[in-house]
């Protein structure tokens, strides 16, 4: 999922304090799972902002809506008949949702309520870690299901490098060496022979280096 983190309330207040009618828009997908922008976080933020503005003597209307997703037309359309009632939208979706919201409603200011961080997993409640950088050409088949692009600080495709010590990366003792993990798993799978196969230069044109990307699937397009 896309992992996001909460923005400090102070920062959000600065973004929206000039408006009188604000809609806080949550998203039921990834940001709900990582407890940053779901219905509950929308409720907490709305309550906190209502109290803040009331305390400041400002009359600000703050409403709450949480959509199924903010990255699809049909869900964003659900609020078309009511967006006129607001001066601004504070979207607690990931950066994707914020942008799609902004694209669809040209004259409505949209502000982000979370910091979008990475594609990752829930290791345990309250701990999310990165697993994928969406490089566009998956090499997990060659690396025992562990991604050196997202988990190696240097994105080395034939590792480990000299900075690997006791299974940890030189950037931090808390970061596992991705290549140590790969070798350990290749051993467990009995596929250490695969380690001898050199991974050739990677085509990074499908990564961000090639500019904004798209997936066009004519087979499913109408």
């Amino acid at each position: 999922m896309i992992v996001a983190d909460k923005k400090p309330i102070e920062e959000i207040i600065k973004e929206i304090e000039s408006y009188n009618r604000v809609l806080i828009l949550g998203c039921n997908e990834c940001v709900t799972v990582c407890e940053a922008g779901g219905k509950k976080e929308v409720g907490i933020l709305a309550s906190a902002l209502r109290m803040y503005f009331l305390n400041q003597g400002k009359d600000v209307k703050i409403d709450e809506v949480t959509l199924e997703r903010q990255c699809d037309h049909e869900y964003l359309e659900e609020i078309r008949d009511r967006v006129d009632k607001y001066d601004a939208v504070l979207s607690l979706a990931c950066g994707v949702g914020v942008q799609f919201m902004a694209e669809k409603y040209q004259t409505l200011p949209v502000y982000p309520g979370v910091n979008t961080c990475f594609l990752g997993v829930t290791e345990k409640r309250g701990l999310w870690t990165e697993r994928c950088q969406a490089c566009g050409k998956c090499i997990l088949a060659k690396t025992a299901g562990i991604c050196p692009v997202s988990r190696c600080a240097k994105r080395i495709l034939n590792g480990p490098c000299g900075g690997s010590t006791n299974g940890k990366c030189e950037i931090s003792k808390e970061v596992d060496c991705a290549w140590q993990l790969i070798i350990d798993r290749l051993k467990a799978l009995g596929k250490m022979d695969d380690y001898e196969n050199i991974i050739p230069l990677k085509d990074w044109s499908t990564d961000r280096a090639g500019g904004p990307r798209k997936v066009a699937r004519e087979d499913v397009q109408l």
Partner: protein
């Protein structure tokens, strides 16, 4: 025991303090409560293992939010006791009453009255 405790305290019963959410606490302040405190079982003795520990964390989060928005985090407190400690329950109630009287009324309550006037 026939113990006394301040009459301005409204008890909201929950199956476990683990049920108490930040939103419940914030809504209480939005509706004009001057203070909120959760009284849970002794730490390490939760019938549901970690309910009171979760409550403590949520109380801490609510404190931070209330501090940020100028209501004052001190108005939220967490207390622990065993269900056999009636006198301590009354003591916590008196302490909370004293603390809130010292802090004064909830500024949100005052602001909404001003707005209504």
């Amino acid at each position: 025991m026939r113990l006394n405790y301040p009459t301005n305290i409204k008890i909201i019963r929950v199956p476990c303090t683990g049920k108490v959410d930040i939103l419940h606490i914030l809504r209480a302040f939005e509706k004009g409560a001057d203070g909120v405190y959760a009284v849970g079982c002794m730490e390490g003795e939760c019938h549901y293992n970690s309910g009171n520990l979760r409550a403590r964390k949520r109380i801490e989060q609510a404190k931070k939010i209330l501090d940020t928005i100028g209501v004052g985090g001190e108005r939220v407190q967490m207390r622990n006791l065993s269900s056999a400690e009636g006198p301590r329950f009354a003591q916590y109630a008196s302490e909370m009453d004293e603390l809130i009287r010292k802090l004064g009324p909830n500024p949100i309550k005052l602001a909404s009255k001003k707005k209504a006037a």
